[in-house]
């Protein structure tokens, strides 16, 4: 309040030493007020603000051309000044009802002392002091004070008997059927001694309780409630102004009636009306008070409504703002970009600018930018003169401005290739949701990104949009390129492995290229490696019948591996044999890399995939982020060419299985149905043994589910036996590129049991799911077992059950996202100020320790191997050359 006390605004920014929160006293309100407001009118017939009206020129100006009568500032310069309204009678402030109630109940109705013995008061004061030392909040203790004091029935100071005070919404205090007037309440509060206030946790200097009962109302400056001029020339006032008009009108009527000696009843009515208007002025959503409405019937947006909620001042205008130098458009994939690049459309690049300060050494270069103007791409849109004045570069003045440039000026040049920008996709749930990319200006209208960076953003290309922010200072660009570039974020701190890596086609492409010994001609080999840095082929693996040299896929892949990489692991296609034959694996599923040469095994999801990729993981950890980024770039380019060389397509005929397999599946399903029938028979004959802890009904449900589940799996195996690794769907499932063998089973063999909440479908009509079945039928098909496959098609009842099961999935995802979103918000709010210190302890802002060692072991998960103990083993074996067991 220092600023508005003498109504002058210091032009020099000042350092804030401390902030004190308190209540405005009537004295303070009058002191900071520039005028008393006495008329409810705003403008006179000429449209000029009326003196001592709500738009008084001393309250600040909003119309261009007028000058503020207080500070002399024009619209935009003058911050506005408070006025005040003298209320004819005191009125309660809605925001303080809770505390007023507590105070009234715990102070004497006669002498206003806090109803506690002196000794107790002293004890509480001591406790406050102790809490203060530990900087703990005193809220709980204050509540105890009120709770204790309320119990006292006879005042220990004047002996007055205390009466029960009932509070009735919205602002009535009733003491033994007598309604206390605000004047009486104010009187009681006024007489509370300062020392007692301290016991109630209040500071008598900055917050006397009687200030919660208003005798004078601060009128916010016009800049807070600007009126707008409609196209018709009519003025439309702000909601707050409307409310203030109401308050002044009633205040005046009250005054007139009282002066004329009107009957008590009328006075009371007017007093209540004044209370209503003040209440709704502060908060128009108080329960028990009908909201004040605009002429059109829309509820008014008053003070509380401006601040509260998602679109309120705090969450809507202060925590979340719309920013300049940002762009948003649809995203699409481009595997030829590096993972740390982003393709930006020309249309956007021409709008986004970067300020460059002119020095003697870049003068000529910046002249060229300015001379190109805003229309030709790497041009410039604005220049700033040395005095800070902004000039727009137009086609007409570009040459002239280029000539005028001199050191000290700043040019806002257009964004171009290599500039660093932040790229973001909402919801921003983890740090990898905003990463720094290098710009590549490209034609067309979408942002382009390498599909390998989809997992960290959780993006796909079904219409997703993303945001881009252009960095404006050297410091921010340096910080972003050191901490936020895509390659610095390959390892996710969530699980200590790579979150960026090959996806979908990259994996199937590598799989097709490296599986078994393929004979690749020289032309093909060069074509595959064309986009990588590799310029020389290794010794050919052999010569074919015609004597031409050939290379293997493994050799081609080896070219993009670092030369001294050594690694051994089981691939995703691993058949999990009882005894692993290691590098002699007959299915080519044991990957061996020796000195940067892929000796054995197939490259699939376990090697290069996002989340799992072992090769990728060890490259980031051993060779660093830049090398890893190069590797991912090469993998994506090589894999795309690899998959195009063989071709990978999938059609309905890929789900075809031989007739005998179909018969086997039918047989298996029939067997399962018989099994179920037997179970039901045993159940009805009461011969079934219940499982421990289950009822008989639960037991049979469980057993039926079990045997049907087994049947579905068997049909899957039968179908799988006829779909070999030459089938593209199988390739994708086994290599981990997309889909699973279960998906394939459902397409080719049998969809299986549909479930709601993990149980067979039971809901529907009385005693049955659908009228197609008998009441009490426990059979497989009556409770949602789908025998058909997606390819053969579902019969009507199966189709219905499938829809029932499918709906649950949809509802689940809808509920989960909203719930986890709110959980995230609460977690972030609770944890945002915690920080890991250099000594690895986790502390909050006061320096109080929360965790003595981060994660209890002080380990940065991105620097350990998938958070396992392997890290230590790897270090030891790399130094000693011996395997650690």
């Amino acid at each position: 309040m220092v600023i508005s006390m003498d109504n002058t605004i210091p032009s020099i920014p000042q350092r804030i030493g401390a902030i004190r929160f308190g209540l405005l006293s009537p004295r303070e309100i009058r002191k900071m007020s520039v005028t008393s407001i006495i008329t409810a009118d705003t403008y006179d017939d000429d449209g000029y603000p009326i003196d001592m009206g709500l738009m008084d020129l001393r309250l600040g100006v909003i119309d261009p051309g007028l000058k503020c009568k207080t500070c002399g500032g024009r619209a935009g310069e003058c911050p506005g000044h408070f006025g005040h309204i003298e209320l004819v009678a005191p009125v309660l402030h809605v925001g303080f009802n809770k505390i007023i109630r507590k105070i009234l109940r715990s102070t004497c109705r006669n002498c206003s002392h806090l109803l506690l013995e002196d000794k107790q008061k002293k004890a509480y004061l001591n406790q406050f002091a102790k809490l203060d030392v530990m900087s703990h909040l005193p809220d709980d203790l204050i509540n105890n004070v009120f709770k204790e004091a309320r119990k006292t029935k006879i005042c220990p100071y004047c002996g007055e008997e205390q009466l029960e005070i009932k509070f009735e919404k919205p602002s009535d205090y009733i003491e033994n059927d007598y309604k206390l007037t605000p004047t009486e309440i104010r009187d009681r509060l006024e007489h509370i001694p300062d020392d007692d206030l301290k016991v109630m946790g209040m500071d008598p200097v900055s917050a006397r309780p009687e200030w919660m009962v208003l005798t004078v109302l601060a009128v916010p400056p016009v800049t807070v409630r600007p009126s707008i001029t409609l196209e018709s020339g009519q003025r439309s006032e702000d909601d707050l102004t409307h409310k203030l008009v109401d308050i002044i009108r009633i205040n005046q009527r009250f005054q007139e009636n009282r002066d004329a000696g009107a009957p008590q009843l009328i006075i009371e009515d007017l007093w209540e009306l004044l209370q209503y208007h003040l209440t709704t002025f502060f908060d128009n959503e108080v329960s028990g008070v009908p909201p004040a409405r605009h002429r059109s019937g829309r509820p008014l947006k008053t003070l509380t409504q401006r601040l509260k909620g998602k679109e309120g001042r705090f969450r809507g205008s202060l925590s979340g703002k719309r920013v300049n130098f940002s762009a948003r458009t649809v995203i699409s994939p481009d595997p030829n970009l590096s993972i740390n690049e982003v393709g930006v459309p020309y249309a956007i690049a021409k709008q986004m600018t970067i300020p460059v300060r002119i020095i003697s050494r870049n003068l000529e270069m910046m002249r060229a930018y300015v001379a190109r103007g805003g229309e030709t791409h790497p041009g410039a849109n604005y220049v700033f003169r040395e005095d800070g004045r902004r000039l727009k570069i137009t086609e007409a003045n570009k040459e002239e401005l280029a000539e005028k440039l001199e050191p000290g000026w700043t040019v806002e040049r257009q964004m171009q290739d290599g500039d660093i920008v932040l790229f973001n996709r909402q919801p921003s749930l983890h740090k990898m949701s905003i990463m720094a990319h290098k710009v590549k200006v490209l034609p067309n209208k979408t942002f382009k990104l390498n599909p390998s960076v989809c997992p960290p953003y959780n993006a796909d290309f079904d219409g997703d949009e993303m945001n881009m922010h252009v960095l404006q200072t050297e410091e921010s660009r340096a910080e972003a390129s050191i901490l936020m570039q895509v390659q610095e974020n390959i390892l996710s701190p969530r699980f200590g492995g790579p979150i960026i890596g090959g996806i979908h086609d990259h994996i199937s492409g590598m799989f097709l290229l490296t599986r078994n010994e393929k004979m690749i001609s020289k032309n093909d080999a060069l074509e595959l490696l064309r986009k990588s840095e590799v310029r020389e082929l290794p010794e050919p693996a052999g010569h074919n019948d015609t004597g031409d040299p050939f290379w293997t896929g493994k050799q081609i892949f080896s070219q993009i591996l670092p030369n001294d990489l050594n690694l051994e692991f089981k691939a995703n296609v691993c058949f999990k044999c009882d005894v692993c034959k290691g590098r002699d694996c007959e299915y080519d599923s044991y990957v061996v890399v020796e000195n940067g040469e892929l000796v054995a095994g197939t490259i699939d999801e376990k090697a290069i995939g996002a989340f799992k990729g072992k090769i990728l993981d060890s490259i980031v950890k051993r060779y660093g982020a830049t090398e890893a980024a190069r590797f991912v770039d090469d993998v994506t380019r090589l894999a795309i060419r690899g998959v195009m060389r063989t071709g990978l397509s999938f059609g309905i005929s890929d789900e075809d299985i031989p007739r005998e397999a179909r018969l086997n599946i039918d047989e298996e399903l029939e067997r399962a149905e018989n099994e179920v029938a037997e179970l039901i028979q045993a159940y009805e004959a009461k011969e079934l043994e219940p499982l421990p802890g289950r009822t008989l009904a639960e037991t049979i449900e469980l057993k039926i589910m079990q045997s049907l589940g087994k049947a579905r799996d068997h049909t899957g195996t039968i179908a799988g036996n006829h779909l070999g690794l030459e089938n593209s769907a199988v390739i994708m499932a086994k290599s981990g590129a997309r889909g699973s063998m279960l998906n394939l089973t459902q397409m080719a063999a049998c969809v299986g049991q549909q479930a709601v909440r993990g149980e067979r479908i039971r809901r529907g009509y009385e005693g049955r799911t659908l009228p197609h079945f008998d009441r009490g039928d426990l059979g497989a098909d009556a409770h949602g077992f789908v025998k058909s496959s997606y390819k053969s098609g579902l019969n009507p009842t199966e189709y219905f059950f499938h829809a029932v099961g499918g709906r649950e999935g949809l509802v689940d995802t809808a509920v989960r996202t909203s719930q986890s979103g709110y959980l995230q918000r609460r977690l972030v709010n609770a944890l945002q100020d915690l920080e890991v210190q250099y000594d690895r302890s986790v502390r909050e802002t006061r320096g109080v320790i929360v965790q003595f060692k981060y994660g209890e072991d002080g380990i940065d998960s991105t620097k350990s191997d998938y958070n396992s103990k392997d890290t230590v083993h790897n270090i030891v074996s790399s130094v000693t050359g011996k395997e650690v067991k």
């Binding site: 406790q127 102790k130 530990m134 000594d839 320790i849 003595f852 072991d857």
Partner: protein
């Protein structure tokens, strides 16, 4: 009714009151005052059991998934 010790329960980690020397070394290690340690109330059942007093510092040795065992220190308050 037979008396039993809270500390014997498997869910209760080991609590012990530490002496001045150890307090000094802990405070020095983290470069803090007592007030910056996490707090524990005197009426906490375990604190009553081991008979700590206001102003004492209690060392709690917790089982940890990541580190095996992790020491925590708490300042006893009213």
């Amino acid at each position: 009714m037979s008396k039993f010790s809270l500390l014997d329960h498997e869910f209760i980690p080991h609590h012990e009151i530490i002496d001045e020397d150890e307090i000094k070394s802990v405070l020095k290690e983290y470069n803090i005052g007592r007030e910056q340690l996490p707090k524990i109330k005197i009426e906490d059942p375990v604190i009553k059991e081991i008979g700590a007093e206001v102003g004492d510092i209690v060392k709690i040795t917790r089982k940890s998934q990541t580190a095996g065992e992790a020491p925590y220190y708490r300042y006893v308050i009213e």
